[in-house]
C-alpha cells in the first residue's frame, strides 16, 4: 500500500469518526430553558357537570299523546351554571372572567391555567364560584395564601381530597 493511499485511508477514517461524533454531539446539545428562570402559577381542577335543575308538573298538552303508564310526574330541565374564575397576584388581577365548558352546555368544567410569575414572595388569591346568586348550593372554591417562589418552581393550585383549594410547591 502506497503512502498516499495510507494517508487517504487515514483521513477517510478520521473524517468518518468525526462525522459520527458530530452527529452524536448534535443529539445531546445542552439547552437552557428560559422558562425555568421564572416560576409558574398553575391552576388545575375539574368539577363534574355543575348545573341547576328546575322541575314543574307537565302541562295537559305535554301529556296528551303519551300513553298513561308512560306519563311523567314532572318535567325537568338542566341549566348550566356559569362560573367565574378570578386570580390575583399581589392584588393585581391575572385573570377574571367566565370559565368555558368543555364540549356541550352541561359538561364538566375544567380549569387549567398557567401564569408565569417572577420569583419571590407573593400573595395569591384565587376565586372560583358560580356567577349567578341562585346557584347557592353549587361548588365554590377560594384560596388566599402567601407563597415564596424560586426560579423554576411550579406553584400548583388544586383542590385537596376535601374539595378545598390548596397549594403544592415544587422544590
Amino acid at each position: 500500500m502506497s503512502a498516499a493511499t495510507r494517508a487517504r485511508r487515514s483521513v477517510a477514517l478520521v473524517l468518518a469518526i468525526a462525522g459520527v461524533l458530530a452527529m452524536v454531539s448534535l443529539s445531546r446539545l445542552r439547552w437552557r430553558n428560559p422558562d425555568a428562570e421564572a416560576a409558574e402559577l398553575r391552576l388545575s381542577w375539574r368539577i363534574p357537570a355543575p348545573s341547576e335543575r328546575s322541575c314543574r308538573p307537565p302541562t295537559e298538552a305535554e301529556l296528551e299523546g303519551v300513553l298513561p303508564h308512560m306519563r311523567p310526574s314532572e318535567v325537568c330541565t338542566d341549566e348550566a351554571i356559569p362560573y367565574r374564575l378570578t386570580v390575583l397576584l399581589d392584588g393585581d388581577t391575572l385573570r377574571s372572567g367566565p370559565v368555558a365548558r368543555a364540549g356541550g352546555r352541561i359538561r364538566a368544567i375544567t380549569v387549567y391555567e398557567r401564569f408565569v410569575i417572577a420569583p419571590g414572595d407573593h400573595r395569591i388569591t384565587v376565586g372560583f364560584a358560580p356567577e349567578t346568586a341562585s346557584a347557592a348550593e353549587a361548588v365554590a372554591m377560594a384560596m388566599d395564601a402567601d407563597v415564596a417562589a424560586a426560579p423554576g418552581d411550579v406553584i400548583l393550585v388544586a383542590p385537596d381530597d376535601t374539595g378545598r383549594l390548596g397549594m403544592s410547591e415544587g422544590r
Binding site: 445531546r28 445542552r30 437552557r32 409558574e40 387549567y112
Partner: protein
C-alpha cells in the same frame, strides 16, 4: 435556482467523498440503504431494551438499563444514535432526490411515501424520548400536549395530565410504548410502498459499508452513553435540557410561539415538502418522453422487461398475428432512463431519439464529423458523469443520457472505425439516476448480457470507469492508465464499411408511431 445551487454543492461533495472513500463506498450514494440499516439496528436494539422497560416506573427502568455497563447502556446509546443516523441519512437521501430531479412523475409515489416514512420515524423518535421520562421527555410531553390542545380534538385540555396534581397514569406510558412499537409496523408498510415501483430494490448498503457503519455507531455508543437528564418532576420547570437537534430542534422555538403559529409553520413546511413532486415537475414540453417498444422489431426476448429498473415494461400477447409475446411500456411508470434501449439487440425499444438506432446514427455522424478521433481514445459516457463535465478535447467525447442507455453497437462502431480505445464513463453504480445503468453496461460489455458487445470487438480497447461529475481526478487517472495500456497495442485499423447487426432493417423508422396500442389504457408510445 435552489435546486441547481444545492445540486452543485452536492456534486462537489460527492466528488470529494469519492476521492476519499472511492465511489463504491461513498456513504452519500447509500443514504437510502443507510436509513434501512439504521432501522434494522433500532429494531434489534429495541428488542433488547423492551425486556427491561417498565411502564410503571419508566425513568427508574431506564436508569437500571444504563446501569448495565456491558449491556443496556451501550445498547440504549446505539438505539438512539441509530435513530439519529436514520434521520440524517433520510434527509441526505431526500436532498439527493430533490437535486437530481428524481421526485416527480412516476417517482412521486416514492417521494410522498418517503415523506410519510420520515414523519413516522419522527413519531417513533418522539415517543421514544417521552418513554425515558426525564426532563427532556417531560418538556416534550408538556409541549406536545399544549400544541395538541390548540387543535379541536379533545373536549378537555390534555395538558392537565402533566399539571402535577395527580401522578401520570400508567396508561400514558403504555400508549407511548404501544405507539413506539406499532409505528415501526407502519414504517415497514410505507417502506414497501416506497420501493414498490422499482425492480430489485437494494435495501442494505454493501457489507463493508454496512459493518463500518454499525461498528462506528457501536464504538461511539460504547464511549459516549446516551444522554439521560434528571427524572421528570411535574412541579419543577425543566431547566438545563439535553436536546436532540435531529428530533427536537423545534422545541426552543415552539415554547415561545403561539400554538397556532407553530401549527401553521409545520403545516406550511409539510405542504411544501409534500408538493415537491408538483413543484419540481418540468414543463410539459421539457419532460423526457417515455420509452416505446416497436411491436414490429420486438422479438419477445424479454431482455428489456428484465432490465427495466422501474418495472415499467410488461410482456403481453402479440396482436399482430405473430407468435409469442411483445414488450409493452407503461408510460405512467417509465422515467425515461433509456436503459431498455441498451438491452435491445434489434434496437426496437427506448425513449424517442435515444434508441439504439438513434445512437448508431449519431455515432456515424460523430465519426464523420471528427475523423481525427480515429486512432485516439474516445470518451463515451453518461452526461451526468465525469465525462459530462470533462474539460478536455470534446471532439473525442460522445455523450449519452445514461451509461445503461448506451447500446453496445455504438462501442463496436467506434472501435471498428479505428478508435484506439473507447473509455466508457458511467456514474458511480449506486448513484445512477436510472438506478442500474452501470451494472447492466458492464454485463453487456464483458459478460454477454443482451445486447452484448460482439465477440469480434477487441475487449482490450474497451474500458469502463465510474466517476461522478466532479471526480475528474479519478477519470484522469483511469485515462492515463488506459492510454498506457493502449499504447502497447498495435495501431488500430479502421474498417471502411462497417456493418453492425441489428437483426432487422436499419432503415426501420424508430418513431413512436410504429408502436400500436395493444391494450386500452396502456400505450407504448407518448
Amino acid at each position: 435556482m435552489l435546486k441547481r445551487l444545492l445540486g452543485r454543492v452536492l456534486q462537489r461533495t460527492d466528488g470529494w467523498v469519492d476521492r476519499l472513500y472511492g465511489s463504491k463506498w461513498n456513504p452519500l450514494y447509500q443514504s437510502g440503504a443507510l436509513v434501512v440499516l439504521c432501522l434494522a439496528v433500532m429494531l434489534v436494539t429495541g428488542l433488547y431494551l423492551i425486556f427491561f422497560y417498565r411502564i410503571g416506573a419508566p425513568y427508574e427502568s431506564i436508569v437500571r438499563i444504563d446501569g448495565q455497563p456491558w449491556g443496556g447502556r451501550w445498547i440504549r446509546a446505539l438505539h438512539r444514535y441509530a435513530a439519529d443516523g436514520a434521520i440524517v441519512a433520510a434527509v441526505v437521501h431526500a436532498l439527493r432526490m430533490f437535486c437530481q430531479g428524481r421526485s416527480w412523475g412516476p417517482r412521486a409515489l416514492a417521494w410522498i411515501s418517503g415523506v410519510f416514512l420520515v414523519f413516522l420515524l419522527y413519531v417513533c423518535g418522539l415517543t421514544g424520548y417521552v418513554m425515558v421520562w426525564d426532563t427532556h421527555g417531560q418538556l416534550l410531553a408538556a409541549e406536545g400536549a399544549r400544541l395538541l390542545d390548540a387543535l379541536p380534538l379533545f373536549s378537555e385540555p390534555i395538558s392537565r395530565t402533566f399539571a402535577g396534581a395527580d401522578p401520570i397514569p400508567s396508561a400514558f406510558f403504555f400508549m407511548n410504548l404501544f405507539l413506539h412499537i406499532a409505528v415501526p409496523v407502519g414504517i415497514v408498510i410505507f417502506l414497501w410502498l416506497h420501493v414498490s415501483r422499482v425492480a430489485r430494490p437494494v435495501l442494505l448498503p454493501p457489507r463493508p459499508l454496512l459493518w463500518t457503519t454499525v461498528g462506528l455507531l457501536t464504538g461511539v455508543a460504547l464511549v459516549v452513553p446516551a444522554a439521560l437528564g434528571p427524572g421528570a418532576d411535574l412541579l419543577r420547570l425543566p431547566g438545563d435540557v439535553t436536546l436532540d437537534v435531529f428530533y427536537t430542534f423545534w422545541l426552543p422555538w415552539t415554547r415561545s410561539a403561539a400554538p397556532g403559529v407553530a401549527w401553521l409553520a409545520a403545516g406550511v413546511a409539510s405542504a411544501v415538502v409534500v408538493a415537491v413532486p408538483l413543484l419540481t415537475r418540468p414543463r410539459a414540453d421539457r419532460r423526457p418522453a417515455p420509452s416505446f417498444a416497436s411491436t414490429r422489431l420486438c422479438t419477445g426476448c424479454e431482455q428489456c422487461y428484465t432490465d427495466c429498473p422501474y418495472d415499467a415494461i410488461r410482456m403481453v400477447d402479440r396482436e399482430d398475428g405473430r407468435e409469442g409475446k411483445v414488450a409493452l411500456v407503461n408510460p405512467a411508470a417509465c422515467v425515461s432512463c433509456g436503459i431498455c434501449a441498451g438491452s435491445c439487440a434489434p434496437m426496437g425499444v427506448g425513449p424517442p431519439g435515444r434508441t439504439g438506432r438513434d445512437q448508431l446514427s449519431r455515432v456515424k455522424e460523430f465519426v464523420q464529423r471528427h475523423p481525427g478521433a480515429g486512432g485516439d481514445m474516445v470518451l463515451v459516457g453518461c452526461g451526468r458523469s465525469a465525462a459530462g463535465a470533462w474539460a478536455g478535447d470534446h471532439t473525442r467525447r460522445f455523450l449519452v443520457s445514461c451509461a445503461g442507455n448506451l447500446h453496445t453497437s455504438v462501442v463496436e462502431y467506434l472501435v471498428r472505425s479505428g478508435a484506439r480505445g473507447v473509455l466508457i464513463v458511467a456514474c458511480p453504480s449506486r448513484d445512477c439516476w436510472g438506478r442500474e445503468g452501470p451494472k447492466w453496461l458492464v454485463e453487456r460489455l464483458f459478460h454477454e448480457r443482451e445486447a452484448e458487445l460482439k465477440a469480434r470487438v477487441d475487449r482490450r480497447r474497451v474500458r469502463v470507469a465510474h466517476a461522478s461529475a466532479f471526480d475528474q481526478w479519478s477519470l484522469e487517472g483511469v485515462m492515463d492508465k488506459f492510454a498506457t495500456e493502449l499504447a502497447r497495442l498495435d495501431a488500430p485499423v479502421g474498417d471502411d464499411s462497417i456493418e453492425v447487426e441489428t437483426e432487422c432493417d436499419l432503415a426501420e423508422s424508430s418513431t413512436p408511431q410504429d408502436s400500436p396500442l395493444p391494450r386500452p389504457g396502456h400505450t407504448s408510445g407518448p
